[in-house]
Symmetry: D4
Subunit: 252 residues, 8 copies
């Protein structure tokens, strides 16, 4: 609620078009829907540019279905992440036009007009085992209308593999780099491109990788200044920010 | 070195305009300058859009002076961070047009044309003690041509202070949020704006803040999906990425 | 055993109403019951105002049944937490008037007169996944005679949801806030109310949430001075203290 | 700002007693004062029952003086914690009626009527080295009108020392326990009293005490359910909550 | 091999009673038996007073059987710890006079003469859930000929339970204290007795107990100077040292 | 690609034997094969002396088979580590001459001529439970043509077992030491030999071993200067480096 | 206070030899002396066999002097550890017969008859830098009447140094082993002797020794079962327990 | 002492050339010299190929001088690391032919014949601030007779700097890589060369670098299999092993 809309609402009260009680009501109840277990935030699309996304982990199939349906009914694009196969099946049964990406563990429903936003995002990963996280990022970006270049298995121990995809890297508006183990790839990629690099540590590794903590620390200490970091395995979060950047960069 | 420039160089060899030996030389020696202790990367401005920045901590005054001078000679904007007062004095003596921000511990030299990039960045901090980090971010952004709105001391324990600056927040192309202690502010700011929020944990706090680790963990686990994170006290890194975003967003 | 009761007992010895041997016996054996594996503390209700509570995790069904029966026989209200479904079934079979809250994993038996203590507690949680911990707190508080307002899914990324329940928050004698991820909610709630806020970090989250450690650290570093913290997922402990506060606050 | 005051304000607009612009102004500007570096929260006393407190660590003498003066001018009781000796001297010079507690590192100014709130707080500490933290708690509680019983050096390795002060412990409305090293004291005290115990881990200890982390973990895992915990060395925070509890408990 | 036995051996060489080759052989091959996967140390009983003990975790039933048999054949007392039920069954089938303690997860075979060593050890534990670790300690001590007083469920939140067993505590030559959660019990016990207390942190607890790390840190920081500590859940190690102490103390 | 080969390639362009376009192509595409999910690095054998090795953990049987086949087709020796039994069966069905080491979880295919490299490596482990890691090291070394002396169960608590194998230790070109728990063995071995010792912490242990972290820290802090360390349980990595050392040492 | 003394006291009341009031007084006031900042525990010598010891770190010279004087007046042996040089000078000025060990940072005053307890303790350390901690242990043991064998600089990287002092090791009733870095020495010593080994991790080391945490973890995970552990740098605590063991072992 | 020399010694006893007593003496006393505080290990040169090195940190100038002199007198090459300037001055005064490297904090004395070992080591570092650690490695390697190529400031954010020194890298027998911050450089270097890479994490960095822990974890998780790791800032240890490798590799 901006100052403008507040002034407008108060002006209605001033000129008698709205009672004080109604205005109080409206000021108090910003648009969310209370499902009992969850308060669905229909206002987010307005507020932050992208619709609310369902984090399905730790929710029952019934809860996910209810939130998905509540969001879908408003006409926005809907995305659920960390979806178990059985929940995915239930979502697709109820929403036949939705799409299930089993590697990314996502279910998405595009309802907006086919975008030609021009937003270009490169999703890079270091090893084969990082692909599920990279796919979560890619699926999220595509749901929100960006075009995605997937550049997989280009870890730093074989630099020539990375250097051979430099052109794709350099043509993106934002780059997402997923890596486990020592998490060195974002620093190297950051040195090659002139756009923001969003680093996603993955929980891939063993021993002293401590379930992604080593990669996380590596990325936070990156010597490339265009690198920012999200939580371990958080492909969705990286893509959310990358889409915001790429949309703004490609806007005309 | 892009594929295009490589093709061009090889074409010169093909048509005899360049010997193989010279081409090999040129391919091997990308433009950096070896000062003995440091290899100054004059190529970075070309490669990544912004010039190399001098991290002065742990370098002697002589080393900082040498690098600063080497960069300044190329005509780019020069920025040194974490500058001790005595080093700052030496830099200003040699470069009278440079600027010293003692709160931010930066010395900067603007040599480019006055930019009207239109890039707008909001720098937010939670408490009075976070100001030095916030100032490092602000000074960096201004050196690289962005206009900065400073919104200080708006921590979450008194929400009305934050809500009263909502308009300034919402008009920025990117928001930098510096906070120590529990590091909750980026999540709340992230819920209010529709642009990327770059969170900077600060080492402010005591006891179980563990020199910023608590704030860092809080920010990495933010429930706002538009939040990415940089290292503790790394105001410079946050601003670097924010400038990349704001420039691209304001470009026409 | 206070100095008064000690003097009284010694006076009985002095005037011959009690032998030295009996007095020694009584001084040595404060009222607990030894079940072999467990020493049931029947004295706690007298000593600390609330009866002993059974932490069922890591105990066999037989052990839990024995302690539950031992406590129930004394007429106090009985509460068991972290109860497995099969143990809950056994408890209800033996104690048909007991209540099982499957979300909270509690079994409780109210034997005291219906209280009109007037104690009011608000139980707040940040997300849908925090509900089991919040329910443990709510069930505990209700077993001990408090009335509970459940305010769920009001995380800080959508402040309007929290602000819309401000009235319920502000009318409680004590507020319990359960949150995982960054654990920012207690700070924000703490800034809105004038009563003690007891923060419960939950193990909800992923990656660098480190099973609740990130939320725990965030809460310990809260910038709101009316926030104290209990162990991760310890809804019971939060409610125990909240009941002590609310009872004292509502007493007339 | 409650719903009632909102309705009242809107009613004024409705009946023409207030213009829309003025109402917007008033809604937007909750009472805080912007000192440039700090936004002093004069509203807190109204909102949360106790005035804002100045955490002096990391602030310059000038900043502390400015905030202290700004608060003192409103007539509330003023408390500054973690005050360096030189800053304390400056505060006392400007505010001759203020009090400096050099062990607690506090400066306080009582401006309210002498309270007879009846609020009683026991401040317990395990060893001689914990006294500065305990004194910060005691000074805070006294500034806010509670009477304080100081029970120092009663660590668990000599139980008879603790048992000899049991009467003072049991007559308090809330108990604050400060302990370093293994942090066992709150559990033992918690078993002796029937009121909330607020545990303050101190950074006292060596080796594997890890600057208070061992004590903090011990307290969080207390087997006494009436124990809640604050940050390491945070005597102020413990006292703040203890005062809220004791005031409510002693109210008639 | 002591200097005395070395001199004796060399003297035999000197007087021709032993060839150089045989002496070299004997010096090189101290008595152990190579089972391929394991080198059984038959010499330990001679060297350190107590026979080698089999840590069965991570070994196959076949490996445990082989080592057990190898040791039993030498006539010493044999103890296996962390024995799975199926392995225990196999051991008992082959060694019908061995004893299986299913709570302690031990199998033991007494072959020495019934000792009247007089060694007395008290095994204390804080809660019902700590009993398996306490039983491992008790079973170990009994296998090595000590008499054991089991004092279970005497945690510090109900001091009267502990104080009521003070006599048994004070009559032991060494005390073993097993506790999880905050690990406070060894400090309190250490203050009550005049003999060494060996503290065993258990992995019992939840949340920030971090699988026993909180209890471990608490015990290492004990303010009672007669407390030493062993690894988490290491009831065996505690008993091994307690037996060495109690044997020496009861020797006449 | 060395400067020599670059000069040669450019010389071909200079004399017209190669077009600029072809040269650009060749410079960009170093030899790797893109399987979609994986970019197989056929060039590694040339670049670093030993062929690429397949880390099978986290890869599907299909992916492992594809990579194994792709590598085998080039004629190099092929090694897969961390192979599940079902994957091993599939690899052996397709490659009947391959060898499966079930303790080491490796599958290897020797295709090079029987080496008589003379490279000698000692693989030492502290306890029976460390054998799987030690076997991974041994299998790797043997696949790459070294001869291996296995010296198992020679932990430091029974020094005579270690001293009895000193001759085998001292005749190796490099020594690999695998140990869990306190990780003391590499220091002791390091003091006995004059060649590099590569320490492998294993995840064997319990309680405060923290899944190998204690052993890792112990090894990093070794007081023997000829000790370097690899990741927890990383027998493969230790052997890889040991082979490089032993090959170079035995070369004539 | 044992049951016997309680019965005796109560019998006096029964036969009129003691009033109830006096008995209550005596029961409540176990013998400690309240110095204001400290409650000196004169009862400890009676309760636990050894007098209270003053931990001087974090106490003012005045406080240390007051406690030292209070203890000395009772005729027991007095020991102060972690004494700053200036405090040591003050103690010696007031107590001319006291002894200052500047390496150990102790001041001790022997007042008991020259003991011929026969208690023998070996104090071992790994390197020259561990000597201060080892000396604190030695000084403590000597103050309490044990004879001490100092075996310094016998780290595991040169086993022959350790083996050459095996005779002294094997003749002690208890062994104290101080080591930093990897903390391997107690395991090796534990394998050589048949008495309890008390391990003291020292904060000696650098990098990943983490101020003694690596050594501490190593010692807790020792594979020698006769090793127990005290806090980092806690030479005093190790000696306290070693004296208890050695006294009991040498008693006739 | 090998089996051969043992046999020889025993043979002397057999034929009467040596008394049993003398043989026992000789077997017990391997050659070290006891300076009281330190047992200088003159045997190490024989045992492990390189002489003992003095770690001067935490030793007094007198102790360092005594050990240096003791070693120098035997004619070996002597190296002291972590030498304070004042200690260095004292060493040079007594040993005028010794060399002080102030950046490396080393003092070394070459006494062996000028080696033409041919051992070649590359010492690489990521940034200017890593140079002291890199110099410690270089000085150590040179003292032990290797020739060193210093390749400084070639961090991964500017790959062209690293690629331009590839020839020097590839001609070394072993490569030492020193890096702080994210510690990514060893992985990249490891992918470029075919010899062992010894990674040295440095304590350079800030915030979440945690004094080198982030770099350490990164290096332990390196995806390049030819990387092994030493302790943080341990340039000496890296060089010691590198020299062993390079000497063996260059031997003919």
């Amino acid at each position: 609620m901006t100052r403008d809309s507040l002034l407008q609402l108060l002006a209605e009260v001033e000129r008698g078009a709205l009672t004080a009680a109604s205005a109080a009501e409206r000021l108090a109840s910003l648009p969310y829907e209370d499902l009992g277990h969850t308060r669905v935030d229909h206002h987010r699309s307005l507020r932050s540019g992208l619709p609310e996304v369902i984090f399905a982990a730790g929710k029952t199939t019934e809860q996910v279905l209810a939130i998905f349906t509540s969001l879908a009914a408003t006409g926005v694009d809907v995305l659920a992440t960390r979806v178990e196969p059985s929940t995915a099946a239930a979502l697709l049964e109820r929403n036949p036009t939705a799409t299930h990406n089993p590697t990314a563990h996502t279910v998405s429903l595009r309802q907006s007009a086919p975008t030609t936003t021009g937003a270009r995002i490169a999703v890079v990963c270091a090893g084969t085992s990082d692909i599920p996280v990279a796919e979560e990022a890619a699926a999220t970006a595509e749901t929100f209308g960006a075009s995605v270049a997937r550049l997989f298995d280009v870890g730093v121990a074989g630099l020539h593999r990375l250097l051979s995809v430099r052109d794709e890297l350099c043509s993106a508006h934002a780059v997402i780099v997923c890596a486990g183990m020592e998490g060195a790839l974002p620093s190297v990629v950051g040195g090659l491109v002139g756009v923001p690099v969003i680093a996603v540590p993955t929980s891939i590794g063993y021993g002293a990788s401590f379930a992604g903590a080593a990669a996380l620390l590596g990325m936070l200490n990156s010597c490339s200044p265009n690198v920012t970091v999200v939580n371990i395995d958080n492909g969705f979060g990286a893509a959310y920010t990358a889409v915001l950047i790429a949309r703004a960069s490609s806007r005309e």
